[in-house]
């Protein structure tokens, strides 16, 4: 994490990017550093649209009291032009003990202002989304490390696969794993145990194996999931979602960017590559048959069949036939 390795106490910190977790951390790092330097440091937070040139002058004029002050301006892209000019002027000629943190969500708005600030030599922290699975894996590893634990590549990857690419979820999972791990070592078994409590995860595993054509494994996972108390309805939901997503992917026009595709399908961008892999071996007709098989299982389970294991196993077998047929 860049924000953690650079001494954050500089006159102007520019935080740019859409990943709010990283942006928040960059802001917090400055505040923490200011408080470390001066415990009674004065911290104010405003949003760009409510900032006026007069208000900024009030904040940034030299203080009579030698108190460190931190001013965080969120959504700095929305500041009026006059404020923008004043910010650039401040960057060129900072005031002692005054620290500005300017938060910009990325994108083109107020790009000129960003350029001018960069030219003035402000310190920039990037808060980009981590869309690649590899980056998410390193994120997990560094999180666990910062929480005082250790985790190997395989276990970190397993965690990313289980909870997806949302950094907040990953961060809280990592810190919990690190604190729960005996002697701080987080291994694959612990990751597995940790997620046993999340009933939907098992449904997803069944669904993934099923659409990949690994029917034997899917049936094993199914039995295990149901034995350990997973609601059959959750498994059906996962199967329906997995097939629906593949069906939508199969019908997507060629040449669409992965990011747009991900938004359209409602999945994180890193999932697209996995989905493409899963889609191999399917025809549209096969997907249609598979969806109908899951709908029959749903009706059987809702209609109160005695044996939902049987209804779901039947669905898995039919999905297999639909895939190979």
């Amino acid at each position: 994490m860049a924000a953690r390795t650079v001494d954050p106490l500089v006159p102007v910190t520019l935080v740019v990017g859409p990943e709010t977790l990283l942006a928040e951390r960059a802001v917090a790092a400055v505040v923490r550093a200011a408080r470390r330097a001066q415990p009674d440091a004065d911290v104010s937070e405003v949003t760009g649209s409510e900032m006026t040139a007069g208000g900024l002058a009030e904040h940034t004029s030299p203080s009579l009291f030698a108190t460190a002050r931190v001013l965080v301006i969120h959504d700095v892209q929305n500041v009026p032009d006059a404020v923008g000019d004043a910010l650039v002027a401040f960057a060129h000629e900072p005031v002692d003990d005054m620290y500005l943190v300017l938060v910009h969500p990325g994108g083109v708005k107020a790009k000129k202002l960003l350029e001018r600030l960069r030219k003035a030599g402000v310190h920039e922290v990037k808060a980009e989304r981590l869309t690649k699975a590899d980056d998410q894996v390193s994120f997990v590893r560094s999180e666990v490390h910062h929480a005082g634990g250790r985790i190997d590549e395989a276990a970190a990857r397993q965690l990313v696969e289980a909870v997806g690419g949302d950094l907040r979820t990953l961060a809280s999972a990592a810190s919990q794993l690190a604190s729960d791990a005996p002697s701080g070592v987080v291994d694959q078994q612990l990751v597995g145990t940790y997620f046993e409590g999340r009933a939907d995860v098992k449904g997803w595993v069944v669904a993934d194996r099923a659409v990949e054509g690994k029917t034997g494994a899917a049936i094993e996972e199914l039995r295990w999931a149901l034995q350990t108390g997973t609601d059959p309805v959750l498994v059906i939901g996962a199967l329906a979602t997995a097939l629906r997503t593949l069906a939508r992917l199969s019908g997507a026009p060629r040449g669409v960017r992965d990011a747009d595709l991900a938004r359209d399908l409602g999945v994180p961008p890193w999932k697209i590559r996995i989905l493409r892999g899963q889609l191999r071996g399917w025809t549209p007709a096969g997907l249609a048959r598979a969806i109908r098989a899951v709908a029959s299982a749903d009706l059987a389970v809702k209609g109160g069949v005695n044996d939902s294991t049987h209804a779901l196993t039947t669905a898995l077998v039919r999905i297999d036939e639909a895939r190979s047929g």
Binding site: A240, G251, L287, A288, I291, V294, A295, S296
Partner: protein
């Protein structure tokens, strides 16, 4: 009055919202020579009920009671006008001239202000035992002004077991002048103990020409619109009124009827299913959002009424319970909305089937005959039948609480295949 239950079994349809209120509003415009029975559309049972009213009137002067009895059950498919019929019957019983529609008795019953006619209407998923307990003492009173003390329970199918028990005693042995009128889709929806005490009035789905005439004569809707709406609503009066008066309802229906024409590939099928679910969700929001908020407010006010600004201890639990019920209601509203859409699609395929079989009959969707012709030419009667079956199965599955999106996706894919 045995004729009432014998007239059974000729029905098949759905939904009922807004019916009572609109009826009372429109009745205000009536000219002379009308009666409370005009609002009971297309029901051959009416003369039998009129005979009962005459018998009841005679019994007040000491004659035998004839077909009059103390507990009635109005059944019939949604939209057939169960509660409207019950109200008309109530007014006719109170009126000196069998339901003239203009005297004070008739007017007050219609407006819901008659002191001797109480109606239990519920927006909830079930009728609470407390609601029944409020009614039962009322039913024991002698009529203050009218001839009878009448209690109407709309949606009696929503009586829970306790509530039904609380009602039972009063229905079993009512005071002399008390009349209970329960309304429910079918007699089977009522606990057998209560059902066995009631005389059943079975309503049918009114024929569309009767609905059209009703809309144009009593609600002032122009003939063409009335005819279209009655035909499209397939005899569901409330739905016909909505289609005749509400632009939004008409365009919703038009959207739905595009579905059979946009099932070219997998993605379109999934989109069609998703848009049905989305539209139903929007319907549920329109219907439930404000209502939910108001109910929570009312509950909080009721619980907090005695306390002095402090939150009563049982408040959270009570609010939670209410919210649970509201969620169920939302699910039901959503399901009903999907069902209404499916009925429209089903009717479209029925039209296609008629064309394929060369049956000369009025099409429900006559205004889209050209597209229907195309659909008819491009497939065979057997696949139309299979499609209709798929829609029927989807409706049943949804009533059995199957996952809406998945069910509709499966249906759309079957429709595509034919």
């Amino acid at each position: 009055m045995n004729g009432a239950s014998d007239a059974a079994g000729m029905a098949d349809m759905v939904g009922t919202a807004g019916m009572t209120s609109t009826t009372s509003a429109s009745n205000a415009n009536r000219g002379n020579g009308t009666s409370v029975w005009d609002a009971v559309v297309g029901q051959p049972i009416v003369p039998a009920l009129q005979q009962t009213v005459a018998d009841a009137s005679a019994s007040l002067d000491g004659a035998p009671s004839g077909s009059m009895t103390h507990a009635w059950l109005f059944t019939g498919p949604p939209g057939s006008g169960r509660s409207v019929a019950a109200k008309a019957f109530a007014a006719a019983l109170q009126c000196d001239s069998g339901g003239c529609g203009t005297c004070a008795e008739c007017t007050d019953v219609r407006n819901g202000t008659h002191p001797d006619v109480a109606a239990l209407v519920t927006e909830g998923l079930s009728i609470k035992i407390s609601q029944v307990r409020e009614l039962v003492p009322k039913a024991a009173l002698r009529p203050a002004r009218g001839r009878w003390q009448i209690v109407i329970v709309e949606d009696a199918d929503r009586l829970g077991e306790d509530a039904a028990d609380a009602l039972l005693l009063s229905v079993e042995e009512p005071p002399d002048r008390t009349v209970w009128m329960l309304c429910a889709p079918t007699a089977e929806d009522i606990a057998p103990t209560i059902r066995s005490r009631c005389r059943v009035v079975q309503l049918r789905t009114p024929p569309s020409d009767a609905v059209a005439t009703y809309l144009s004569t009593t609600e002032g809707i122009d003939k063409r619109t009335a005819t279209f709406a009655a035909r499209a609503a397939q005899g569901h009066i409330g739905r016909a009124r909505a289609l005749a008066t509400d632009e939004n309802a008409r365009s919703r229906r038009e959207e739905v009827l595009k579905l059979p024409f946009a099932l070219d590939d997998l993605r379109q099928c999934l989109d069609a299913a998703a848009s049905l679910v989305d539209a139903a969700k929007a319907d549920a929001e329109r219907h439930c959002d404000a209502l939910d908020a108001r109910e929570v407010d009312e509950l909080k006010r009721a619980l907090g009424a005695e306390s002095t600004g402090r939150k009563p201890r049982n408040m959270d639990a009570a609010v939670k319970e209410l919210e649970r019920e509201q969620k169920l209601r939302r699910t039901r509203v959503q399901r009903d909305s999907i069902d209404r859409a499916l009925i429209d699609v089903l009717a479209l395929y029925r039209d296609v089937l008629m064309l394929q079989l060369g049956v000369r009959t009025e099409l429900i969707n006559d205004e889209m005959r050209a597209s229907l012709d195309r659909l008819a030419r491009n497939s065979r009667a057997e696949s139309t039948l299979r499609r209709m079956e798929a829609i029927g199965q989807a409706r049943e599955a949804l009533m059995a609480n199957a996952a809406p999106l998945l069910t509709l996706e499966s249906m759309a894919l079957t429709l595509r295949e034919g």
